[in-house]
Every structure is written in structure tokens, then in C-alpha cells.
């Protein structure tokens, strides 16, 4: 039996309330030191202080800059190379082994080289993010293109769309929009993790501000930035889903 909507909504709300009540109770009742776990009721005041000092806005803008530039570049490269490899047997055979070698290296394993090559800089952060999202999008695009129905390619040939460009535009790209979009969306989350990781190493932004606060045991500030990350990611993801649904209107 499906539960009524109202009941499910109130249960969700109840869950959230219980979560916050428990969180509030732990430091208030002295079960945990407030320094180790700040009570949620302290957070708005801390947020206000960070906002009025300008630190919050600076950190958010810096992180967003790293995030968006790395994300866009890494995704574009990944999709472009994935599509090209999917369309060309030669390219696929040529890259086969290189891909097998490089793919298992986690994005964060590139941190040492990023720092050696670019120093503790925005470029280093960008580089790590690009590596992180590249593979996701490369494989999503490659798989999507290879899975395009051969019958549709034959259709394109039968109606005069025989050049690789015509095939790409008329059939391959529209047919693989959905899986490519899924890859892009996974990349949104990956890139966000990469941003924070890069900044924990000292590149200016949310992650760096968080590390500074934690070294001063200002855990309430840490929580402010954790929530900031969650909300920013949520907004980006929602915007992306709205865009995707527009592009895939024909599915409805």
C-alpha cells in the first residue's frame, strides 16, 4: 500500500526535527563538549559574523570560481574526447591502453604534481578538479556514443547524412544526450569534492577557511562552511536538473 503523501511529508519533517533535537541536546546536556560539537542554535549567529566580516562571501566566490572553471573545462574535455573516441575505431584502439593505465589513478593522487607544477594556487585547484571530472564524462560520453542504435545511424545514411559531422549532429549527439547528462551530473558532485580537497591543501576558498577554523577549534565556523557546501551543491544540482529536463522534454 502506498502511504498518503501528507503522512510521508510529516514523517520526513519529523525525522529532520528529531535529528536537530538530538544534535541540540548532545552539547546542551553536557554529553559532548560544545567545542567538539557546536549546537545548531549557535550556527545562525556564527554565520552572521562570517557574513558581515566578508569572509564568507570571499570564500564562496573563490570556491565557485575554482569549481565552475574546473568543472566546465574538465567536462567539456571529457565529453569531447569521449564522443570522438566513440565515433572512431582508430582513436579507440590508440587510446585503449593509455586509458586503462590512467583511469584507476584517483583525482586526488594528482595533488602532489598539481602543487609541484602550479604551486598552491587556483590553477592547481583547477587542475585537480579537471582531472576529477574528466574521466567520469569521458566514459559517460564514450559509452553513450557506442550505445547509439546502429539502426539510427543507418537511417541517417539512408537519408543523406553521411559525413561524420552530419551523423554527429543529426543522430549521435541527440541520441546520447541522456547518458552524457547523467555523467555531467555525477561530475557536479565529484568536482565539488575535488574543490574542497584542493582547498584543504591551502588554496583559498571554503575548504581553506574551514581548515583555518578547525585549527582554532572554532567548530561552529566549520559547521557553517559544511552547510554552505551542502547548500551550494544543492543549488547547482537543482539548476542542472532543471536544464536537463528542458533538454529532454521529448521524453515526457
Amino acid at each position: 500500500m502506498a502511504r498518503p503523501r501528507a503522512l510521508r511529508l510529516s514523517l520526513s519533517l519529523l525525522g529532520v526535527l528529531l535529528f536537530f533535537a538530538l544534535w541540540e541536546a548532545l552539547p546542551r546536556l553536557g554529553l559532548v563538549k560544545p567545542m567538539l560539537l557546536p549546537a545548531p542554535s549557535d550556527i545562525p549567529a556564527t554565520f552572521w559574523r562570517e557574513l558581515t566580516s566578508g569572509a564568507w562571501v570571499d570564500a564562496v566566490l573563490q570556491s565557485l570560481q575554482h569549481y565552475l572553471s574546473g568543472l566546465i573545462l574538465g567536462s567539456a574535455l571529457g565529453v569531447a574526447l569521449g564522443v570522438a573516441t566513440g565515433m572512431s575505431r582508430t582513436l579507440e584502439d590508440m587510446t585503449n591502453w593509455i586509458v586503462r593505465l590512467l583511469r584507476p589513478i584517483p583525482g586526488l593522487a594528482w595533488v602532489p604534481f598539481a602543487i609541484i607544477w602550479f604551486g598552491v594556487s587556483s590553477t592547481a585547484a583547477n587542475f585537480i578538479i579537471i582531472v576529477g571530472v574528466f574521466w567520469i564524462n569521458y566514459f559517460a560520453a564514450l559509452g553513450a556514443v557506442q550505445a547509439v542504435d546502429r539502426d539510427l545511424i543507418e537511417l541517417a545514411n539512408a537519408f543523406g547524412h553521411r559525413s561524420p559531422l552530419a551523423r554527429l549532429v543529426k543522430v549521435i549527439l541527440p541520441a546520447s544526450v541522456q547518458p552524457i547528462m547523467a555523467g555531467l551530473r555525477t561530475g557536479l558532485g565529484q568536482a565539488w569534492m575535488a574543490v574542497v580537497a584542493a582547498e584543504l591543501f591551502g588554496v583559498a576558498g571554503l575548504g581553506q577557511r574551514m581548515m583555518q577554523a578547525s585549527s582554532l577549534l572554532a567548530t561552529d565556523v566549520v559547521v557553517v562552511y559544511m552547510i554552505t557546501m551542502a547548500v551550494l551543491y544543492g543549488v547547482v544540482d537543482m539548476a542542472f536538473v532543471a536544464l536537463r529536463d528542458r533538454l529532454l522534454a521529448w521524453k515526457a
Partner: protein, 252 residues
């Protein structure tokens, strides 16, 4: 007139050379309705693909005496499955073959709508393919082929996947369309009754490698009757020849 001369198609594999078609010969007069019948897997579909230029023949030629005209395509194909592009609305699907011919937007649209009018689906122009029935989808595929104003309309078991009632309806519609447009049609089917009901001439493709085994002219006034005695006799004669060839081939 379209002349197909000495068409041979073979392909090489590990197990040696397989000859699919051998010395296929067929002249189709302008405005003629020719059906090719044969058992499943004999190479009927392959034959159409060779004529359409989707598969390169090992030897032989396909020639037309109609001059190249701008804004048209010499061949158009209707497949067994409608093969509509799900991300395009019906009218944009019909425009598919018109793209790349250097036509302006308005011309493409009006030709697509005229083709939809011919198959009685002008009112469905703005629908998505998934909103149509199987029979309607196949009519859109026919409209897509007619829109390019081909010298030869090729149909590869176009009604094979439809239920009996829809199939009969579309057969009558096709004859009507053919009479109104004066198109030359090459129709492939394994259904001998369908071939005899529709075509001016029924060519039997059989053997391995496949070649023309017989060609029967179907005379008599149109519209035809499905239970016409003469047609039934011709159909039975073709069936007899076909089973004779199959038995001989199997060594029975």
C-alpha cells in the same frame, strides 16, 4: 527507369567467402510498383541496401536515367520499424531527409506538411513519436520518405511488424498513395499474398547465393480484390516455385 545490372555481393570472413547475391538483374520502369519476395534471410533487405548505396556491391551497377535535381534525393527508404527519431516532433522527423539539401526553413516545413497530408497525419505534425500508434508511426516514416521526392521509394517489409487489420489498411493506403504520386516503388516482403495484392510485378528472390528465380506480371484493374482468383493462382504458383527451390536446396 532504374536498371540494376549484374549485382553481386559477397563478403569474406574466417570461414571463407560468402556470396549473398549473384548477378541480380532488374529493370524498373518509372512509376512501376515492383515487389521482391523471398524467404527470410535470403538477402532481400541486403538488396535494398545495395541499391540505396548503404552497402557497396562487390560488382554490378545501379543506374537511373533521371537527371540529378536539386532539392531531391534519388532514393528513400522505409524500414520495417518506423525508425522515427524520438527527440524530434513528427514534422521534424519528416524534415529529416530534407536537411542538407540547401532548402530554406519554410520550404522544408511546407514539403514536410504536404507529405504528412498525403498520409493523412497533418494534424499530428506537432506530436512526439511516442504519442502515435504503430500504424501512425509507419505512416510518418512513409511521409519522411515521400518528402524527399525520390526517384525510387524502397520499402523493406514496411508492414511486417503491424497487426493484420492495420496492415491491410496501410496496404490500401499505399496503393492509393502510389496512384496519386506516381512514385516508383520497390517493395520487399516475405508475404507473397501481400506482394501479389500490391505490385505490378512480383520478383522471386531465392537460392544461395540469391538470384532472380521468376518474375510475374500481375495484371487486372485496380482497385484489386484480396480474394481475386487470378491473384490467388499467381500467389500459389510463386509459393510452389519457392518451396521447390527450398526443398532442392535442402536435398529433400
Amino acid at each position: 527507369m532504374i536498371s540494376i545490372k549484374d549485382l553481386t555481393l559477397s563478403f569474406d570472413s574466417d570461414r571463407g567467402r560468402t556470396i549473398v547475391l549473384k548477378d541480380f538483374h532488374l529493370d524498373i520502369a518509372d512509376g512501376e510498383f515492383v515487389a521482391v519476395v523471398g524467404a527470410s534471410g535470403v538477402g532481400k533487405s541486403t538488396l535494398l541496401r545495395v541499391i540505396a548505396g548503404l552497402v557497396k556491391p562487390t560488382s554490378g551497377t545501379v543506374t537511373r536515367d533521371t537527371p540529378e535535381t536539386p532539392g531531391r534525393r534519388p532514393y528513400a527508404m522505409v524500414f520495417q520499424d518506423a525508425r522515427l527519431l524520438p527527440w524530434r516532433r513528427v514534422v521534424k522527423n519528416v524534415e529529416f531527409g530534407l536537411e542538407g539539401l540547401g532548402l530554406d526553413k519554410a520550404t522544408k516545413r511546407s514539403r514536410a506538411l504536404a507529405a504528412l497530408e498525403l498520409v493523412g497525419l497533418a494534424d499530428k505534425a506537432d506530436r512526439w513519436p511516442h504519442q502515435l500508434s504503430g500504424g501512425q508511426r509507419q505512416r510518418v516514416a512513409i511521409a519522411r520518405a515521400l518528402a524527399v521526392d525520390p526517384d525510387l521509394l524502397m520499402m523493406d517489409e514496411p508492414f511486417g511488424a503491424l497487426d493484420a487489420i492495420t496492415r491491410q489498411g496501410l496496404q490500401d493506403e499505399l496503393v492509393d498513395l502510389w496512384q496519386r504520386t506516381g512514385k516508383t516503388i520497390l517493395f520487399v516482403t516475405h508475404d507473397i499474398d501481400e506482394a501479389v495484392y500490391l505490385a505490378d510485378r512480383v520478383v522471386l528472390l531465392a537460392g544461395s547465393p540469391a538470384g532472380v528465380r521468376s518474375a510475374d506480371r500481375i495484371d487486372g484493374p485496380r482497385p484489386r480484390h484480396r480474394d481475386d482468383a487470378g491473384a490467388r493462382e499467381t500467389a500459389n504458383a510463386i509459393r510452389g516455385r519457392l518451396s521447390g527451390i527450398v526443398e532442392a536446396g535442402a536435398g529433400i
